[in-house]
Amino acid sequence: MTRSSSYLEAARAGMANACLQKSLRNLQARYGQGALAAWRALPDPDLRRRVKARRMQTLAHLDRLLALLAEGIESRGGRVFFAATAAEANRYVLDLARKHGVQRVVKGKSMLSAEIGIDAVLAADGIEVVETDLGEFIVQIAASSASHIIAPCIHMDRQQIGRLFAGRLGIPYSDDPPTLTRAARQALRHKLLTADMGLTGCNLAIAETGQISLVSNEGNIRMATTLPKLHVALMGMERICATLDDHRDLLQLLTQGAALQKLSTYVSFLGGPRHPGDPDGPAAFHLVIVDNGRSRILADPEFREVLACIRCGACLNICPVYGRIGGHAYHSPYSGPIGAVVTPLLHGINRHADLCRGETLCGACREVCPVDNDLPRMLAALRHKLAYGDPGWQVRPHNRREALGFKLWRWLIGNNRRYEVVFRILRALQRPFVGPQGMIDPRAGGQDGWTGGRDLPPLAAASFRERWRTTLGKGRSRREAERRQEQDHAA
C-alpha cells in the first residue's frame, strides 16, 4: 500500500466514523471558534504579533540561549544532553534507564516522545511504560494512537472508553466520566508510586532562569516529576524563551489557544534535582534537548517560522479538513495544519506529499494561530518543492504527469487566440456529453475527480470574451475615445 492510499483510506475511515465526527464537531465549535473569540478579546491586540517577533528573535539566537539554559540546569546538578537524532535521544534515555535499574517508567504527555518513538525502545528492553495523562492513558491501553495533539482520544466516546476500562481495568461497565476518571486515577496511582523514572516533555524552557516548564490540568505531571527518583525531560530544541517575561506571554497564548484557559490548573517549573532540604523532587534530573531535523528547518528562512509553534493545537480546532478526516490520516503524532507542515519537514516531503497537498489553503489556521504562523504559505512552499524537486531537501519531483499538465497549461494560457481555439474545440467535443439537465453527464466525467459527487456545468455557449466581442463591448472603444477627448478639452 502506498502512503497516498493509506492517507486517503485513513481519511475515509475518519469521515465514516460517526463518533469521531460528533466529537470533532463539538471540539471545533467550542475550541476553534473560542480561540478566535479569545484573540479578539485580548486586552493587547498586538500581543500575538509581538510574541511572534520575539519567537523569531529567540530562534535567531537559539545556540546561545540553549547554552545558557544548560548552564543553569547543570549549575544545580542537573544533566543536559543534546541529541542530534531520535536514535541518539533514545539511546541516551535507554542507557539511563539501564544504569538506574529502571523497571517502570511513568510518562507525562509528550509529543516529542511519540516523534522519537521512545516507548517502543524502552518496552523492547523489558521496561514497563505507563502514560499518566488521562487521554494518553486511554489511547495507550486501547493500543490506539493519539488523534489530536491536545486531546489524544478525541476519536473515542465515553461508551467506548467505558467498555475499554471494563475490559482492561476490570471495573464494572460505566460511561460516567467521573467514575471512569476515578478508575484511571486508581490504576495510575499505584504506578506513579512505584515507578523508577518519570519521563516528560517540556512545554517551554526559560534560558534566563535555567528551567523548563510543564502545564497540565490533571496533576499527573507533578507526580511524575517528583515521585520517581529519576526525572528525564525531552525537549524539542526550539521550545525555549529567553526570559521569564517571554514565558509569561507565551504561556498565556498556549493555555488560551489550547483550552481557552487563562491559566492551566498546574504550571510546573523544574530546573534540576532535589537539593538537601527540598521537600520533594527527583534525585537525578536529565534534560534531553532534541534536534532530529529541527536545525535543517532553522536554516531555511522559508520554513523557520514553523519553529515558533508552541503546539497549542488551535489550528486543529479550526481546520475544516482536520475537522472531517481526524488525526489518524496524518500518520504522525503531529496532525492537523501544523502536522501537515512539520511532519513532511521532519520526516520527508515526498513521503508525506499528501499532507502538503491535501488542504484547501483556506487560511483558517493562520487566523487562529497564537504566534501568527503562516501555515498556508508554508504548505504552498512545500508544494513548490514537490513540483520541481529540491536537492537541498532531498525532494524528487512528485508527479511528472501533473508537471507536464502545467507545462501544457502554460502553453495554452500564453496566447489568447490559442486559448480560444482550444476552448471552442473542447466546447464542440463536450456536446454529446451534455445531459438532459444541461450538465455534463457524470458517466462521461467519471466517478473520480469532480463529477463523482458534483455536477459540472458545460463550457458556456457564449463565453464572456465572446459576449464582449459580439454585444457587451460594442461601441465602447469609440465612447472611451470620446470621453478621453472631452477630458483633454476640459483640461
Binding site: 486517503l8 481519511a11 475515509r12 469521515m15 475544516p320 479538513v321 472531517r324 478526516i325 497537498r357 491535501g358 488542504e359 484547501t360 489553503l361 483556506c362 487560511g363 483558517a364 487566523e367 504552498a380 512545500l382 508544494r383 513548490h384 518543492k385 514537490l386 513540483a387 520541481y388 508537471a403 502545467f406 507545462k407 497549461w409 502554460r410 495554452l412 494560457i413 500564453g414 489568447n416 486559448y419 476552448f423 450538465m439 457524470p442 473520480d448 475527480g449 469532480w450 463523482g452 459527487g453 458534483r454 455536477d455 459540472l456 456545468p457 463550457l459 458556456a460 463565453s463 464572456f464 470574451r465 459576449r467 464582449w468 466581442r469 457587451l472 465602447r476 472611451e480 470621453r483 477630458q487
Partner: protein, 245 residues
C-alpha cells in the same frame, strides 16, 4: 472628477463557466456610467499553478498579466482569490527580480475585487437593485481572510430592495473547493461542501450569494447532484437585478 476607467479582469472560470456573472458586473458598471475596457489578451492569472507549487509556470502567467494590465487605471475582478493572487502572490513570485517586483506591486495596488471597488473605492452601497428572496452570504476564504473583505458584500446586499439577508453559521468556513484539491481529494472536498450546504439550509435561505466562481461552482455542483433546492448566485448577478429568485 470623471470616474476612472475600469479595466475588467474576468477570471478564467467566470469566462468559461459563469459568464453571466461577468456580464452582470458589466451591467452594474454601465448603470454607474463607468467606462470599461476589456483586454482580449487575458487568459488566466496563474493561480492554479501557484496553488500546486508550479511557480515557474505561475510566474509566466503573472508576467503576461502584468504586461497586459499595467497601463490600466483600475483593474476590477469578480473573484476574491484571483485578486489575492495578484495582490499578494505576484510580488512574492518576483521577490528576487527587483524590476518585476516593482511592476507587480504597482499592478497589485490598483487591482480590486468587485465589491471592494464599489464600496471602498467608489463609496457606493446602494445600486437600486431589487431581489425578493431570503439570501445568505458565503465568505470565500481568500476574500475574507487574505483580503479582509467581509463587510463590503454584506453592505451591498443589505441595500438591495426586498431582500432578506440572513447569516448562516460558519459563513467563513471553507466550502471545500480549493482548486485542484477538489479533484485530487474529492471525498474530503465533498464532506466539506456538504457541511457548507447544511449551514446554508439551516439558515433558512433559498439563495446563497458569493463572490468567487470556484465556491459557487462547488456549491452549485453539489446541490444539483443531491437535488437540493438552493440557488447559487454571484453578488454581481443580484446587484445587476437580472437574476430572479
Amino acid at each position: 472628477m470623471p470616474p476612472q476607467t475600469v479595466t475588467l479582469f474576468i477570471q478564467c472560470l467566470v469566462d468559461a463557466l459563469l459568464p453571466e456573472a461577468g456580464e452582470a458586473m458589466v451591467r452594474v458598471f454601465d448603470r454607474l456610467g463607468i467606462p470599461l475596457l476589456y483586454p482580449h489578451g487575458q487568459t488566466c492569472c496563474g493561480q492554479p499553478a501557484w496553488n500546486s507549487g508550479f511557480r515557474r509556470e505561475a510566474a509566466g502567467a503573472a508576467r503576461r498579466f502584468i504586461d497586459l494590465f499595467e497601463g490600466a487605471e483600475a483593474i476590477v475582478c469578480p473573484s476574491g482569490s484571483c485578486v489575492a493572487m495578484v495582490r499578494h502572490h505576484y510580488p512574492e513570485l518576483f521577490r528576487d527580480d527587483p524590476a518585476m517586483h516593482r511592476r507587480a506591486l504597482a499592478v497589485a495596488r490598483k487591482t480590486f475585487e468587485f465589491s471592494e471597488y464599489l464600496v471602498d473605492v467608489l463609496g457606493i452601497a446602494d445600486l437600486g437593485a431589487v431581489f425578493p428572496a431570503t439570501v445568505t452570504y458565503h465568505d470565500s476564504c481568500h476574500l475574507a481572510r487574505t483580503l479582509g473583505i467581509r463587510e463590503q458584500p454584506r453592505r451591498l446586499l443589505r441595500h438591495v430592495r426586498e431582500v432578506r439577508l440572513v447569516e448562516m453559521s460558519n459563513s467563513d468556513t471553507c466550502c471545500g473547493f480549493g482548486g485542484a484539491f477538489s479533484v485530487n481529494y474529492p471525498d474530503i472536498s465533498l464532506a466539506l461542501v456538504d457541511d457548507k450546504i447544511d449551514h446554508i439550509l439551516r439558515s433558512g435561505a433559498k439563495v446563497v450569494v458569493g463572490c468567487d466562481a470556484g465556491c459557487l461552482l462547488q456549491i452549485r455542483g453539489r446541490v444539483a447532484r443531491r437535488g437540493i433546492d438552493i440557488q447559487t448566485l454571484h453578488l454581481a448577478q443580484v446587484l445587476a437585478g437580472e437574476a430572479t429568485p
